[in-house]
């Protein structure tokens, strides 16, 4: 009976900790994605402003020098699990719009989007990371509570 209680308590602890870990990873991936997105748009802004580099070449160069969640997205790998459909659609819509306007309009649009994303990464991404760490700690605490109650 005691062994069963200890086993159930351990399972409860690991389940709670796993949920916390999953939440933390999800939020860190989300933060990493948006930081990569900002980095990519900064790169695009530079390359388009000074070199008028075509988008295909620009993407290839970016992927050569950067890895991470956003690079995986650019390669067409799945981003399910940490971005909502709405967030994905918003990113896709902006990226699809690159290359459809003249140089001046494109550069102005990128500059504006970079400013917006800079603010976003400074506030929201920091929050995602903090929240991730908090959720993990809380879930470990819940796990410990389960452990104490059941053991």
């Amino acid at each position: 009976m005691i062994a069963l209680s200890v086993f159930a308590a351990a399972c409860g602890f690991f389940a709670a900790a796993s949920v916390g870990l999953w939440l933390k990873r999800k939020l860190i991936r989300k933060a990493s994605f948006y930081e990569g997105y900002y980095d990519y748009l900064l790169f695009a802004y530079e390359k388009i402003s000074y070199e008028r580099m075509p988008i295909g070449e620009l993407n290839a160069q970016y992927l050569l020098r950067k890895n991470g969640e956003f690079s995986s997205y650019l390669k067409g790998e799945t981003t399910k699990g940490f971005l909502s459909d709405g967030q994905l659609a918003e990113v896709k819509e902006y990226l699809d719009g690159i290359g459809t306007t003249d140089a001046d309009t494109q550069i102005a649009s990128l500059a504006s989007k970079c400013s917006e994303l800079k603010r976003f990464t400074e506030t929201e991404c920091t929050k995602y990371r903090k929240d991730g760490a908090l959720y993990f700690k809380l879930s470990v605490l819940v796990g410990v509570a389960i452990l104490i109650l059941l053991a």
């Binding site: 690159i98 290359g99 003249d102």
Partner: protein, 273 residues
């Protein structure tokens, strides 16, 4: 038709010998072959037009802004896409074109031997001018003249501002313009004449669509410098040497007038002077 364009969904059912495709937002898809003009039943939607524009610009319209202001986009293989839309003016000049509504895609063809009717003595050591209305076959004939002269040992310099004669793009030529041919691709005409005459030691300068004082000055410089010229000019008749082109009257020894009917490239008249 170049492979890339051939595989584009909107053009998949077009015949291989198409020479021009007309795409208008909301309009019928039309195309030309050497024999006739055809209008399909397909109405081009806004989404299809946007996708095509993205395709022809390689999703990088911003990289082609300067070209766009000249009214065309150069594609690989010498394909030229004429663009119509709303011009954004900056003083006297056009800064860019927005809200593009029409594309005229012109596809070059190489027809070996198409200049044979002239006889090689018809243009060997002579200044040749080819005249026709737009899409009359001028460039095809000019390309073959360049090819023949070059393969017979003449140093030919092609002034190919838009890459239509040689099909130039990324250092590769889609058309055969001869083994002794040098191509100045992408150079503004005035600069191209200067560079060709100063640095390339040409026997022949080959240039498409004479269009203004820059061309006239360039041709005259070549003429007085002892370099032969083969060129094309838009026109309906051989009486083209007036206005800005008046000084060229004395230059050309051989004039070929082409017509679009009954088929593109029909020789309407040929004059030795």
């Amino acid at each position: 038709m170049p492979k890339d364009l051939l595989s584009y969904p909107l053009f998949r059912d077009l015949p291989k010998r198409v020479t021009e495709i007309r795409v208008r937002k909301g309009g019928r898809l039309c195309y030309l072959t050497p024999l006739s003009r055809f209008s399909t039943e397909h109405l081009v939607t806004d989404a299809e037009f946007a996708d095509l524009l993205s395709f022809v610009t390689d999703r990088s319209l911003y990289a082609l802004t300067e070209k766009l202001t000249n009214g065309y986009l150069p594609l690989k293989g010498g394909v030229r896409v004429g663009v119509a839309g709303e011009g954004v003016a900056n003083g006297e000049s056009i800064k860019t074109v927005k809200h593009v509504t029409s594309l005229a895609i012109r596809i070059p063809h190489q027809i070996f031997g198409v200049a044979d009717f002239l006889g090689i003595d018809g243009y060997f050591n002579q200044n040749v001018l080819i005249i026709s209305p737009p899409a009359g076959g001028k460039t095809t004939l000019l390309r073959e003249i360049a090819h023949t002269l070059s393969d017979r040992g003449k140093n030919v310099v092609v002034l190919d501002e838009r890459g239509e004669i040689s099909g130039a793009g990324e250092g590769v030529f889609a058309m055969n313009v001869g083994e002794n041919t040098d191509v100045l691709f992408g150079f503004p005409k005035k600069q191209a004449y200067e560079n060709a005459l100063r640095a390339m030691n040409p026997d022949y300068i080959v240039t498409d669509e004479l269009s203004g004082t820059g061309d006239v000055e360039g041709v005259l410089r070549a003429y007085y410098g002892g370099v032969k010229v083969a060129a094309t000019l838009h026109g309906e008749d051989i009486d083209v040497f007036h206005g800005v082109f008046a000084p060229l009257d004395k230059v050309f020894d051989r004039i070929v007038l082409l017509s679009k009917s009954p088929v593109v490239g029909t020789v309407k008249r040929e004059v030795r002077r």
